[in-house]
């Protein structure tokens, strides 16, 4: 999708339309940044009134520029942008960054202007970044095509090294990630502010960065995804290339409240679809700026852990104890150091220290960190090591830093240095000279290791798993035709018919009159349940249009009348299609299975603890359809209710495999009919020792008012 885009971030010549010397104006700040970062290509300031800008020869218009221009940066008020784009077209420029605001970001008028820009661009074969973008900064190439002041920090070492790419829907935030990351000694490839995405979008830039051999991870700041399918293609490609995407997705809580008809719908917040898609493709979600940078630091500056067993080497017991708590809160374990290594450690650790885990060499430890680290480093029972040190003063690190750096470089394991006091400038300079990265937050060390481990496990799974088949099922056409012929809300007996197509059995039969019902009950076996079927009464229990535990013919006669009377009282105009007669379900574990269609990502399958209390405990898991059996199984693993299926407190286990199979079948239906189905609710699904019973089924079609 991005062929021909690669030069976008590495233009050999740049025209700045609206170049000026005033640093209050974005055209001035763009020029200033390009020059300050020593842009090595040809630079053409365009300014009607000046022959020179910041000492560079200026041109009155694009037509006067003597050579072909690779990239135009537009930094003039919105009103003039149409003419500028037309000038670009005339000059044969095919790549344009529009920094100017006042387009789709500014009401209906601005949106109309933006549409005109897109029209001209399409017609002329121009690709556009922005508008309303702060531009981009290609760090190793020294191309600061941005008016952001946050780029004015030391860009760090040049040359090949694992770098971080940033693509941000917020320019302020994107360049701030760079600014902060540089403060932590991290290395960047390019930072891109995507603006309004009138043409090029987030996934396009991220794709370029995934292709860049020096970019090891890509950070994405997302408010809303423009083309979900492009994003999924990007995530797949990143997974295949083993380049983690570290994503901040904001707007978690602001999601507009939606009208939902099902338990599944109300349990599936808008954000659960994002989480489900992110998890499927190994995308790492970060909750704050620090966490984003710390996770990126792990992937660019450290090895990735292969397991969750951490050893801590510290000179302060208290800090190490706190670090232990924080590690354990992140799913990491701290097994003891083995006896042999303990003995070697005790040769130089004072008696008031500890050789267990954390290894406390004490503040007065004579021989210091490096010898302890050397002993712990090759412990076969540890996957990662945290070295807890103070960089507030230089004395200790000056003595030991180089030895520590050698051990870190040589080790196959991640060895993370953490400073518990603020690093002094001298310490920082020494650490940089040894190329030794350090963390400043306990939580950061633990979160980074956790994210690394989760990604490692994702890759293991990703490379071995057979992906779900996305081809339509043999019955897909039939299912779609069935749905097209039905109303917005399917009655339970209709839902049962559709589910049967996918091998999902429900019980019972529909009765048109009491006589039929008596026959059905006798055939099914007493006691039975009666459920009035009407498309206008999807929640039958609320309407008291349900009778449970109907024990015999007399009881049925009474229940039949009462249920129908209640239904008519609840909704006098309801069309009543008959009464469903079902045998009462055997006991078992009450779960819920469902589907909610996400506006961006399509059908998301849900499973969880069921019954009327489903929403109260919110013990649920989500994954995008279609599902493989392994994926369904992984969903169940995430539930607390999994312990119930396994046989809670001596109870017999329930048929988990059958429930997983149900989820797979349900996911096939949801996938085949993704254009039609809004929500599916199987609640409760009672899972027995062998087999399961789908007690109730609700299917709602899209466009349901």
């Amino acid at each position: 999708m991005t062929s021909g885009l690669a030069p976008f971030l590495a233009p050999k010549s740049i025209a700045v339309i609206g170049a000026s010397e005033g640093v209050e104006k974005i055209g001035g700040r763009l020029m200033n940044n390009l020059l300050r970062h020593k842009y090595a290509g040809l630079l053409y300031p365009i300014n009607l009134n000046r022959s020179e800008v910041w000492g560079v020869k200026a041109y009155r218009d694009l037509a006067s520029v003597p050579e072909q221009v690779d990239l135009a940066l537009i930094a003039i008020p919105a009103a003039g942008v149409i003419e500028a784009i037309e000038d670009c077209a005339k000059a044969g420029i095919t790549r344009v960054v529009i920094a100017s605001s006042g387009f789709a970001d500014a009401g209906a008028e601005g949106a109309a202007l933006q549409r005109r820009v897109v029209e001209i661009a399409r017609r002329s074969g121009i690709r556009i970044a922005g508008p309303n973008t702060q531009g981009f900064y290609n760090v190793p190439a020294g191309i600061a095509a941005t008016f952001s002041p946050a780029v004015n920090v030391d860009p760090g070492p040049t040359g090949k090294r694992p770098r971080i790419g940033v693509v941000s829907q917020s320019g302020g935030l994107g360049f701030s990630l760079y600014n902060r990351g540089r403060g932590d000694g991290l290395d960047f490839s390019s930072i891109v502010s995507i603006g309004n995405q009138c043409d090029l979008e987030l996934a396009d830039y991220a794709d370029l960065l995934i292709d860049d051999p020096d970019t090891r991870v890509v950070m994405l700041f997302i408010e809303a995804i423009k083309t979900p399918q492009k994003f999924i293609a990007l995530a797949k490609k990143a997974a295949e290339r083993e380049k983690p995407l570290i994503v901040a997705k904001v707007g978690r809580f602001k999601a507009a409240s939606r009208a939902v008809s099902s338990h599944t719908g109300s349990l599936a917040g808008v954000d659960s679809a994002y989480d489900a898609v992110f998890e499927r493709w190994g995308v790492i979600r970060a909750e704050n700026i620090e966490e984003m940078l710390e996770i990126a630091a792990l992937f660019t500056r450290h090895r990735v852990p292969r397991g969750n067993r951490v050893a801590i080497v510290s000179a302060t017991g208290g800090t190490a104890a706190w670090l232990t708590d924080i590690c354990e809160a992140h799913g990491l374990e701290l097994p003891e150091i083995d006896a042999g290594r303990r003995q070697r450690l005790m040769e130089f650790i004072p008696p008031y220290g500890s050789p267990l885990n954390p290894v406390d060499i004490t503040a007065q430890g004579l021989r210091g960190y490096a010898p302890a680290l050397e002993i712990v480093e090759d412990s076969p029972t540890h996957d990662a090591i945290l070295v807890c040190i103070t960089l507030a003063q230089e004395a200790r690190i000056a003595r030991e830093g180089e030895d520590i750096a050698k051990l870190v470089r040589a080790s196959e394991k991640p060895i993370l240095v953490y400073t518990y006091a603020t690093a002094s400038e001298k310490s920082k300079a020494m650490m940089a000279a040894w190329d030794l990265h350090f963390f400043s937050r306990m939580t950061g060390c633990a979160r980074a290791l956790q994210a690394g481990l989760v990604y490692h496990r994702f890759q293991d799974r990703f490379r071995s798993e057979t992906p779900a088949d996305e081809a339509p099922s043999p019955v897909a056409g039939e299912a779609r035709r069935f749905l097209a012929a039905r109303g917005p809300t399917l009655c339970e007996y209709e839902a049962a018919e559709l589910l049967a197509l996918y091998g999902i059995d429900t019980t019972g039969s529909i009765a048109a009159n009491e006589e039929d019902a008596q026959k059905a009950a006798a055939a099914l076996g007493w006691p039975v349940a009666l459920k009035v079927q009407s498309p206008q009464i999807p929640h039958k229990t609320e309407a008291k249009a349900v009778a449970l535990n109907v024990a015999d013919t007399d009881a049925l006669r009474e229940a039949w009348r009462a249920a129908l009377a209640n239904a008519r009282a609840f909704a006098p105009d309801a069309e009543i299609r008959g009464v469903l007669v079902q045998p009462m379900a055997r006991p078992g574990i009450e779960l819920i299975a469902g589907v909610a269609s996400d506006a961006d990502f399509g059908p998301i399958v849900m499973c969880g603890l069921g019954g009327v209390e489903a929403e109260l405990f919110g013990d649920v898991a989500f994954a995008p359809a279609p599902l493989t059996e392994a994926q369904a199984d992984a969903m169940i693993d995430k539930l607390k209710a999994a312990a119930l299926l396994a046989g809670w407190r001596g109870a017999a286990p329930a048929d988990r495999r059958e429930f997983a199979a149900l989820l797979v079948k349900l996911s096939r239906l949801a996938w085949d009919a993704r254009d039609a189905i809004a929500e599916i609710d199987l609640n409760p699904v009672i899972v027995h020792g062998h087999g399961l019973t789908v007690v109730d089924a609700l299917i709602v079609q899209k466009g349901n008012p």
Copy 2:
């Protein structure tokens, strides 16, 4: 408890025993720090071999010092400390800090040495800090009686201002809090490393700091509390003085696994008692160093919010959106700015900005933050304001900082400045000059506001509430005698007798033979439950020594035999006291109520979702006994199960008041018998529309093997 201790942190003269010039030795580092921070009192280095140390006249022993010494700092190897303490006693010194390690921190031999130190001190009227302490630092007085290198940063402005006190069980961590806090521009009073607490303990120093008029908050780093009752007295005093305690309590996950007999016991992790006690007294628990400092910053540098409604003023929409998510995750709300203020804002915010909330003045906003802040500041629908700014460059803050600082100072609300890029040194200096604090983490702003609000609400409650009566109940003596006459595990019928003393009704009667049981069942009404009573079979269901829903005399005959046979098969040697006959409980909400005795804090009452799945969902709340009705009610409020009591999804509400009353009664029993009772489990307690049924009761006494 601390009378006479005040001069401990402000000695007028100090002797340093083991003073030297080598900064590798703690005696050298102590001298160096005292001199570097310009100790203004009289300083007496004690050194056998030198006449001068760091240019200060030295003495060969304490006896040679001509004047009375206020405080001795001992910095010699452990072996010489006994003699040094004896010298102190002879010289009439009553306050001694032992920095040396090698005491209780170093095995049995060290512990013995420490006991000798304590004996001598007691005998001579000496109060001791340490041993194994890094000392203390009284910042405003410039007394750096510590060998920690972390104190060597700019101590900040002198004079009266709200300061942070630190008392830490880890010297490394305590001084690191100071070091980091100074980096954030926070002001400190004293930092104390408490070491082994052989005499003075954490609560003693914290008490001194609470008394200090300049100390506004006290940070505590706790591994284990020496005297829990002293800690509680401290927490009460801090609450009365409205000085928040901000506590890091580590060892959360490492707590030794304990043998427990009840659901309550297994649900009550070791740490839940700490949380319960902290909450009772308004102690704020922090999860990491950054959070500790950020919360302290709120209390020392800002107003405390009176409500949870936040307004954000930002120049970058993306950052503001993320900040919004983080605020909402912390229980804060972001209501829209009212129409009148919106109109005033739109007079200078460009059309691509926003006057809602967050208020986005845009990166190109002409008039900047101050005018927007001025409009938002007095919004009656907002309790706090976050100003989201970049301090990476100085241009903007140089123009606006002073105006912002004025608004912050004049406002009755907290106005927190947050920088999304790393603050430049020049920006920092300007902010310091305006005395304008800023935050560097989004999470920090939100967490600090949350903590401030929780503390404000705690104070409201604390000042209005009637505390629980700690006097023994009229039946306390009887209860204690009853327990003393019983075995380690009370049979259900025995537990019932004890509970009845406190007005907790259970149902049923004990039957010695089948005939009695038939009579009891007839009297109680069928169906009934039978439960074999044996102190050796506390978990009757596991032993199948229970029969439920026994419908009639025939069924009872059968059930009687089966239950007794099962009990004998399960525990052939069990002493069987009879069979409890109970009516089957009416339906209702299944809850659990219990008590677990904490080794430090005594009886902790628990309530939660009950039944066999209690542990699975962990929907529980804890509070220390005794409870008032209001406190019991607040516990119930914390449960998800509270929604069930209120009438979930149209169900009738249950008798919440009766359940609260049960908790109060249970807490009285637990309090009266706190020396005897280890665990109580009422599980399930079935709460009906009116009244409740305690279905099962288990009481375990202390010393139960």
